[in-house]
């Protein structure tokens, strides 16, 4: 697709996203919000996994950090929701950096295990916080979790899904545009060079250590932002929302959409949430169908949905050109 066509397609989608939801009703809009929020998180994972070639089974842990960070800021420090969003992003980036440094030397399966450990350990630590005897034992709200207040613009309280949808949409648009910027920058090129071959990238002057660590920070930032929005969306923040399954779900979004594209991350989030909603009505055995869907996607959906569409368009164009010639 040419740049102008792509922009036109983007604007059409955006117009639909603004105009259609008022006609959808509360529950469907609620689901739409979830799609947008997960899309933001999965963009972050696309940077790390798709462009950086690093495996993370711990993305839900970073989202958890964002959700708890934002909630604590709002409850304990009386920070407004609007300030909590960028602050949660910053916290996510910091934690991403803190993970990126120690994990610098780890690759492939080793990195998968390390991030897996992080994702499983973080909820355990939060659940058992009082046993550590550090700080306030009720810091994370114990078994009840945390209840962040609803955001407001002046006297307009964001307490319906429709109002929150416009917030999510605005944040998602900014997140998408920013991700495209980041990935088309010099840094994005360096990251892809690193994925192709770390030693070769290094030989061409890419500062591989820095690129790697920052890719964790970018993933963490997006995850933090996603977590802050998710905290409000869920209403109550507890560790059960950030299980290993959520980490796998994020990977699923990235793989189904197409690991390398920002649009793929959004498409993947929409597809996975839709699948989740549909399955919930059909069966209580979600993990079986999740596993089967993910397995089929890994085995047969090369390049994901977006990659397949792109390949189809390219083939059509070739045929057009052949017929005209």
């Amino acid at each position: 697709m040419t740049a102008t066509r792509r922009n036109a397609a983007g604007l059409v989608v955006l117009a639909l996203a603004v105009l259609v939801p008022p006609a959808l009703g509360e529950y469907r809009t609620y689901v739409l919000c979830l799609m947008a929020i997960y899309a933001i998180g999965s963009i972050g994972l696309t940077v790390l996994v798709g462009h950086g070639g690093m495996i993370s089974l711990g993305h839900a842990g970073l989202v958890c950090v964002g959700a708890y960070g934002a909630s604590l800021l709002m409850i304990r420090a009386d920070v407004s929701f609007w300030l909590a969003l960028p602050l949660a992003t910053a916290i996510g980036m910091l934690v991403g950096l803190a993970l990126g440094y120690p994990f610098l030397k780890l690759d492939g399966p080793y990195l998968a295990i390390a991030t897996f450990g992080f994702a499983v350990a973080l909820p355990e630590v939060i659940n058992r916080w009082s046993a550590f005897g550090v700080g306030d034992p009720a810091l994370f709200g114990g078994a009840l979790g945390l209840n962040p207040p609803s955001p407001a613009i002046g006297s307009l309280i964001i307490n319906t899904s429709l109002r929150f949808w416009y917030v999510c949409l605005a944040v998602l648009v900014v997140a998408v545009l920013l991700a495209r910027r980041i990935l088309s920058s010099r840094w994005g090129q360096d990251l892809r060079a690193y994925r192709q071959s770390p030693p070769a990238a290094s030989a061409y002057g890419v500062r591989t250590r820095r690129v790697r660590v920052w890719s964790f920070a970018v993933a963490g930032g997006y995850a933090g932002l996603c977590g802050a929005l998710l905290a409000h969306h869920l209403g109550a923040v507890g560790t059960s929302s950030f299980s290993l399954t959520l980490s796998i779900t994020f990977l699923m979004m990235v793989v189904i959409g197409g690991v390398e594209s920002v649009a793929g991350a959004v498409v993947g989030a929409v597809a996975v949430v839709a699948l989740q909603e549909w399955l919930t009505g059909q069966t209580s055995n979600l993990q079986l169908w999740y596993g089967v869907a993910l397995l089929l996607a890994v085995m047969f959906l090369r390049g994901g949905v977006v990659g397949m569409v792109q390949a189809r368009l390219r083939r059509l164009r070739h045929r057009d050109e052949a017929e005209h010639a």
Partner: protein, 287 residues
């Protein structure tokens, strides 16, 4: 103190039995099999179903082990070989997908109830050296010791063991030397699958049989495998046992709440400080 060490050795022995499977598969295929625990759960349920149907327990165990030995190589033969592009990412995703799918399959076939699982040996606990241990616990220790010896003997003295070592050293050279590489890799997966089911049968009487029984065990076995170096079977056994003892000591002297976080602390420290593990060889850089 000694009582804590003894009970830690028992849970550590089960982690070690699982870790053996993870290491064998990693050596043969270069894959971390996140589905290993769920395969074990499925096999354990098969044992339970056969036993409930009236078969004697040893026969049920044999059937379960066979299921493990057949199902495990299928992962390599049908799923991993079916990947069009075999990268670390697709391999990890595939085994993670199987983790979910197998968990769901076990749930669909056997239901979500928790069952009491028969111990392989029964009888009053044995007292020796001032320790009190159930017969099942002693059996675990015997099995781990036996497995250690069998593994060591297999790698050192049998043709299959030598072939396994050759394949994990270099697939290409093993193929050039005329070894039936695919069959060897499948046998390794089969041995690993049996060890997994055995671990499941050993732990089921302790934690009760449930669909999600092995998730926690797999996490700890992964930690054991990594601390031991991922490529070393003896390292995984040693690390699995040490991890169990450490966990038990933390639970006994500090707080039961902190036992699991302790395992993760060890895992992360091991990865950061010594990624090649206590006994493994340094991970190779792929150019």
């Amino acid at each position: 103190m000694m009582q804590y060490v003894a009970s830690g050795l028992v849970s550590g022995g089960i982690y070690a039995t699982m870790a053996i499977g993870i290491v064998l598969i990693y050596r043969a295929s270069g894959v971390i099999n996140f589905a290993h625990g769920e395969l074990a759960t499925f096999g354990t349920f098969v044992v339970f179903a056969c036993w409930s149907a009236g078969l004697p327990l040893p026969l049920a165990l044999l059937i379960g082990l066979l299921v493990g030995a057949v199902a495990s190589p299928c992962i390599e033969a049908f799923v991993l070989s079916g990947l069009r592009r075999r990268t670390h990412l697709t391999e990890v995703m595939a085994t993670v997908a199987l983790f979910l799918a197998l968990n769901g399959l076990t749930l669909a076939v056997f239901g979500e109830e928790t069952h009491e699982f028969p111990a392989l040996v029964t009888g009053p606990p044995i007292e020796a050296f001032g320790l009190v241990m159930s017969r099942q616990s002693i059996l675990v220790l015997v099995v781990v010791a036996g497995l250690t010896l069998i593994m060591a003997a297999m790698f050192r003295f049998t043709r299959l063991g030598a072939a396994m070592r050759a394949v994990s050293e270099s697939r290409e050279s093993a193929e050039l030397a005329g070894l039936p590489v695919r069959r060897i890799v499948w046998s390794v997966w089969a041995v690993a699958g049996m060890a997994g089911v055995l671990a499941g049968v050993l732990i089921a009487p302790i934690v009760y049989l449930n669909v999600n029984m092995m998730i926690d065990v797999l996490t700890k076995a992964l930690a054991g495998a990594v601390v031991g170096g991922l490529t070393s079977v003896s390292g995984a056994i040693t690390a699995g046992l040490l991890l169990g003892v450490g966990e038990s000591l933390v639970a006994g002297y500090v707080s039961t709440q902190l036992a699991t976080p302790f395992v993760f602390l060890v895992l992360v420290l091991a990865l950061v400080v010594r990624p090649q593990g206590l006994f493994g060889s340094a991970p190779k850089v792929k150019l």
